[in-house]
Amino acid sequence: MSSKTSEPQGPTSGDSDGKTDLKPTTEIDDVAIRFAGDSGDGMQLTGTKFTDETAMAGNDLSTFPDFPAEIRAPAGTMAGVSGFQIHFSSHDIHTPADRVDLLIAFNPAALRANLEDVRSQGMVVINSDAFTQKALTRAGYEEDPREELKTRYALVEIPLTRLNREALQGLSLSQREADRCKNFFALGLLCWLYCRPTEATERWLAGKFKGDVLQANLTTLRAGFAFGETTELFPVHYTIPSAKIEAGTYRNITGNSALAWGILAAGKQLSMPVFLGAYPITPASDVLHEVSRHHEFGIKTFQAEDEMAAVSSTIGAAFAGQLGVTISSGPGFILKQEALGLAVMVELPLVAINVQRAGPATGSPTKTEQGDLLAVLFGRHSQSPVPVLAASTPGDCFHIVLEAFHIATKYMTPVVVLSDGYLANSAEPWKIPDVDSLPRSTVNFAGRETMGADTEFEPYRRDPATLARPWAIPGTPGLEHRIGGLTKEDISGNVVYTAENHQRMVDLRAAKVARIAEDIPPLEVEGPDSGELLVIGWGGTRGAITAAVESAREDGLSVSQAYIRHLNPFPSNLKEVLTSFKHVLCPELNEGQLAMLLRSRFLVDVQSFSKVAGQPFKVQEIRERIDSFLTEKS
């Protein structure tokens, strides 16, 4: 964090209300802050609003919400703490940051649960009203930590509850209602501190609330801003110049919204109706919610009774000629494996999305992990190959769904898309793609006209180029036929159990999926094409890997990185890439699943760097591993 301080300037808020800035501003280029409070304190909302303001201010940013599995875990306890971290910067950033420069803690439990992530001498803002003896005990503090804290952090105590109540005096709200607004006081204060505009939040409030509640929120937001300006507690405030980003129109997007919009976009881009069958599960449910809000896209959403029905109905819809998509998370995804195996056998197109979470079993549903790679590849009985793609950033979730549908319909196959809990809820500024530039394709259903008058329809006669079988949908006269899960005869699709046919169909299914490699762009290496160390990853760890590798390269180390979006089939140049480096390191939030695939396929000594703690990688962890690795090996 580099900084330069300057004298008081004009208004930084977009409002031209003539406010003048009374304090000096310091220019810094990179900040990470975290909001933390009870699940009921509105931390996720506050964080999201600050994120929007920050985006509008033109910074690059990355966020990380972290909340408990309970709806509203017991107030004041460690288990009930909800956090929202945002990292923003005047340059390109890749992660929500390992440590925060500022923590704002609404109660002692929030302080205790988050303190260790504050950088040394970082700022810790607390709601001093919440530091009662009872609350301290509830948080598990044996004594008041504040004195001790001052030695290690810049502690700022603010009587947030009282200030908020005072700001709202005169409005006809109950005290409880008033107290619920205090997060907006804090938001106002932080907007002042980092010279963010508050416009977008005010607009959002106006759209969301009316009457006294609207008034209260606006009032306390502004009061918080004003408090920053006047209080002695903050001698300076900060500007973060806008980042140099590619020209274009941007918005913030989370992985889950991007998946939902990708699904809606797929219908448009393939000019076909979409059917989404799903059963709610954290952290995938929001995709169902978001899609359900947009029936005007002609999409049908079906909340099934369970995951088996979710995937089965989706396959049924695909059979009937629609773009089927189903979404779940690990525990639900594995319940779909039997039906996905049927989809492999009957060769119907379909996209199955798995937003991975931390396990095993119910595990930690709101935490992230990359534990399901082998399960999606190999979790069906017998040889049952499916293409697998993994998204690497929130915005990528949009494009990957489109790509998955393209593959599914071109090759007549179910396709699995992997996301994870971190991507699902994290936000990043996303350059909105030009709709006209998005890939389009047309699906050709089989029709009687393509056949001779007396020929029998052959549901397993393949396109020689793609090995896809024809998609003949009910309602098409003359193509009546039967499909099913029993071993199919090549070409005719009849049921047969002969050995040669069994082998042939196994081979054909494998060959078809392998052939998709022809549509996959070669793996790109970031950094030199060869050298000492390649760090290779997949999915949502991309940001952390990029940041770590870039920093290592800045320090003169011979390190490059690559990330695999297509996990089955692999990009065709993968072997070449791997063998161009002396060493390969593979950081994963699992026990080395991609590493295992690479080792077995290419007999390259890929070293796994594994973390399975329900949390994303910190940049520093990867950087240290790179350093220690290079030291060991040299």
Binding site: R251, L264, F275, A309, F319, G324, L342, R482, V495
Partner: protein, 342 residues
């Protein structure tokens, strides 16, 4: 609704070219023949007809129908059918399932499909045994049934398919018998005409693993005595000339009385069959009539009206388009806060 332009079809048009692979004497043959006979009379173009099944002997059914067909996985056929019908409401969707497929592993999908009331037909072939896996007792097998997996007799109380369907909120519930061609065809037509999920239990003999369980109602000689043929608006009368009997309800408890041939059953207090009763308690009383004290009711037990899932689903799209206009991807991507970097 499917356009009714197809040339007149015959039974043969519905016979697929696949060899039928059931055991000799299996009740499934007769069901197949009757379904094939009824199809041409429905006025639905053949290409709009879809048979969807799970796994079991019964579930091989779609292979033998020259329509669109999908032999899926064990127990989930109603869910596949839900997707197909919801995707294309023009299709005439028929689910074929067994007592094991439908009521053992598949009970949950039966429940939810029935309550959503999509306009489909569900035919459950009840042979009270798992045929395909070679003779284990099923959820409809009688207590005490000796089978491969219950050599000392089954200790599970059976579930009654009709009561179950009623408990799930079914809008159309009927029962028929594999060998009673005319009756089955009538029931199938009624099921097709019903708007909503039609649930039909078809009593089916499995000569290999459970021979004769339905003999008293399958055998023409004893059928009249042992079945109660339901007709809407007609009294609950059974038996044949000289041995007519009727059914009364006393405080919700059914009771059999003898009728002279010239008795007016209505005057004697015999219940008049009413399929349309809003409360399902009458239907559930019928469902629990058990032999030998009572005859087995066959025919349409209940038919009531409720909205269909697939129609409401289409309505939601229409409503959304009416309110917001057809989905606009560009607008969606630019909704909410955006900013431009130049």
């Amino acid at each position: 609704m499917a356009a009714e332009v197809a040339p007149k079809l015959t039974r043969k048009d519905f016979v697929a070219d696949q060899e039928v692979r059931w055991c000799p004497g299996c009740g499934d043959y007769s069901i197949l023949a009757n379904v094939q006979r009824v199809m041409p009379e429905l006025g639905v173009p053949r290409e709009n007809i879809v048979f969807i099944s799970g796994i079991g002997c019964s579930s091989r059914f779609p292979y033998y129908m020259d329509t669109y067909g999908f032999h899926t996985i064990h127990g989930r056929a109603p869910a596949f059918a839900t997707g197909a019908k919801a995707a294309n409401p023009n299709l005439s969707v028929w689910v074929v399932t067994g007592d094991g497929d439908g009521l053992s592993i598949g009970g949950n999908h039966l429940l939810h499909t029935i309550r959503r009331n999509l306009d489909i037909q569900i035919l459950l072939f009840n042979n009270q045994v798992y045929g395909l896996t070679k003779g284990q007792y099923s959820p409809t097998s009688a207590l005490g049934m000796r089978s491969k997996s219950s050599p000392q007799g089954s200790i599970d109380h059976p579930v009654d398919p009709i009561s179950y369907a009623l408990g799930c909120g079914a809008t159309f519930v009927a029962r028929t018998i594999d060998v009673d061609a005319k009756h089955m065809q009538q029931v199938l037509k009624r099921a097709h005409d019903h708007k909503g999920t039609s649930f039909i239990e078809i009593l089916q003999n499995c000569p290999v693993f459970n021979d004769g369980i339905w003999e008293d109602v399958e055998d023409r000689k004893t059928r009249a005595k042992n079945t109660l043929v339901l007709e809407h608006g007609e009294p609950l009368v059974f038996g044949s000339e000289g041995e007519r009997k009727g059914i009364l309800m006393q405080d919700g408890r059914p009771q059999v009385i003898d009728l002279a041939d010239d008795d007016d059953p209505k005057e004697r207090g015999v219940v008049i069959h009413d399929e349309k009763l809003e409360t399902p308690s009458y239907a559930s009383a019928l469902a629990t009539l058990t032999r030998p004290d009572f005859p087995l009711p066959v025919g349409v037990i209940r038919e009531v009206e409720k909205t269909c899932y697939e129609e409401l689903l289409e309505d939601q799209i229409k409503e959304a388009v009416d309110q917001k206009g057809a989905g606009d991807l560009h607008a969606l991507l630019h909704s909410g806060d955006t900013w431009t970097v130049s």
